[in-house]
Point group: C2
Chain length 248, copies 2
DNA sequence: CTCTGGGCTTGATCTGGGTCAAATTCTGTC
DNA sequence: GACAGAATTTGACCCAGATCAAGCCCAGAG
């Protein structure tokens, strides 16, 4: 049986062409050679936009390398980022969906694609894959709901602090320094992208970044390099509640 | 193989106790008698709040009857609704999650619960169940993302129009009158609940309802009964784009 | 029939964040 | 090492929606 923290991951196994494998992130063993047979690759340049119309796509894909964003727009141009696609994240789905998203490549992207029908057929007799996709999707749903709280009820300053702490936390898990109070990282987003993520304008983002800097919550070296002297302070600014919650 | 539109539904099969079944919405046949063996019921009164702490719950549940809302709050009391739970909707998940939600009963609720471990075990060898849960979760994710666009980028008037058209559409599918331009329905939410859903205050909700009424977009009989003379007009007000999107 | 309280509306005023505009870095690149 | 263009900052001003405060409507209780 799969581990709780198992993920469907993309791994660069040495030289090109990069191999896509379904592995358990913990035990590191291949589980499904079958994926190998139905996959192909597709790359996109930084800045390129792909309109991902759910029910018209005949494939699903997973990011192998690079960063992309998932956005929705109104016809007058207002745009809202609704997801960040990092290596190993999936886009597209087994099943129908009317929703259409813009997938915008922030960097050059390599995607591993699976033709939909074979992928769905495969899921039929390999419950592990279905369960992992379910777990990944549930995690995304949790993240989306937390973001709804941010979009609906947080102030501009809290929004910025929340975004920074999320980026910091992600870096922390990479650096294995989650317990450190002092953190340093690079922002992978422009001010405009941050604004689209947070439901703000880029001017407001800039102003609040300046305010947080003035108040000593963050330090900036250049525009993108951020140092947080005290993570607890930042989390406080983000307004996230930390109480555990009771059981019924 | 399961149909695309298959759902895991709760059905009231005549007398109490209500039976929970996993059926295909299209072919109407039972697929999994096994669910019967691990389920039990639990009811909640209107107004009751349950703190649903993902990783501490030892069961998952599905709404059999009644309406509940899923909300998140900041410690100072600001609250944001992040989902609506209607009959057949699931809450809780097979797998771990740190997220905690408040489940607030809008009406009296009957829930069908499954103890987590047996439910997860069952998923292992019944791929249909896993696939349906995945499909349901993906649909919820689409809805959450559409809501993020609303929360982040729509004006108060557009938010109200969007909510009304969603409620109208849901009623339409029940009444089988999707093609009608003229629609009538009851709002299942108080002004305050609408506000929490839309990231607004109840005063703004009230004002915008009055404005839509004044402009002839809707008619009100009493506070909760709404008539929409022209759905197209309402959809226009909601600002949703209708263009199909291209394929890459 | 009146009282009460919750849901709702409406008005007056305030303000956070949007809008518009200009100045100031940064990043190349020739 | 200067020029071009994009990213960012900062300022001035404005407005949509929040806040504060009355008052209204109506269903249920007595």
């Amino acid at each position: 049986m799969p581990h709780d923290d198992a993920k469907l991951v993309s791994l660069n196994c040495g030289d090109c062409p990069i191999r896509h494998r379904a592995v358990c992130a913990r035990c590191e063993t291949d589980e499904l050679e079958e994926l190998e047979r139905i996959k192909y690759y597709r790359s996109f340049e930084a800045g390129q936009t792909v309109i991902w119309a759910g029910d018209q796509m005949d494939f699903v894909a997973s990011v192998v390398s690079g960063i992309a964003t998932l956005t929705q727009t109104l016809e007058d141009g207002r745009t809202q980022m609704v997801g960040l696609l990092l290596p190993s994240d999936f886009v597209g789905r087994p099943g129908r969906s009317r929703a259409a998203y813009n997938v915008i490549a922030t960097t050059d992207i390599l995607m591993c694609c699976f033709r939909r029908k074979p992928f769905e057929d495969m899921m039929e007799h390999t419950p592990h894959i279905a369960q992992r996709l379910l777990q990944m999707t549930l995690d995304e749903l949790d993240a989306a709901r937390e973001w709804m709280l941010l979009l609906g009820r947080k102030t501009a300053r809290e929004k910025i602090a929340s975004l920074l702490s999320i980026v910091a936390r992600r870096n922390a898990s990479i650096q294995m320094r989650a317990s450190e109070r002092d953190m340093t990282f690079d922002l992978p987003l422009t001010r405009e992208a941050m604004a689209d993520y947070l439901g703000l304008t880029l001017e407001t983002v800039s102003r609040q970044m300046s305010a947080l800097k003035r108040d000593g919550v963050i330090e900036l070296q250049g525009k993108r390099h951020v140092r947080v002297p005290d993570m607890d302070r930042l989390l406080l600014e983000a307004g996230d509640d930390s109480d555990g919650g009771f059981i019924i």
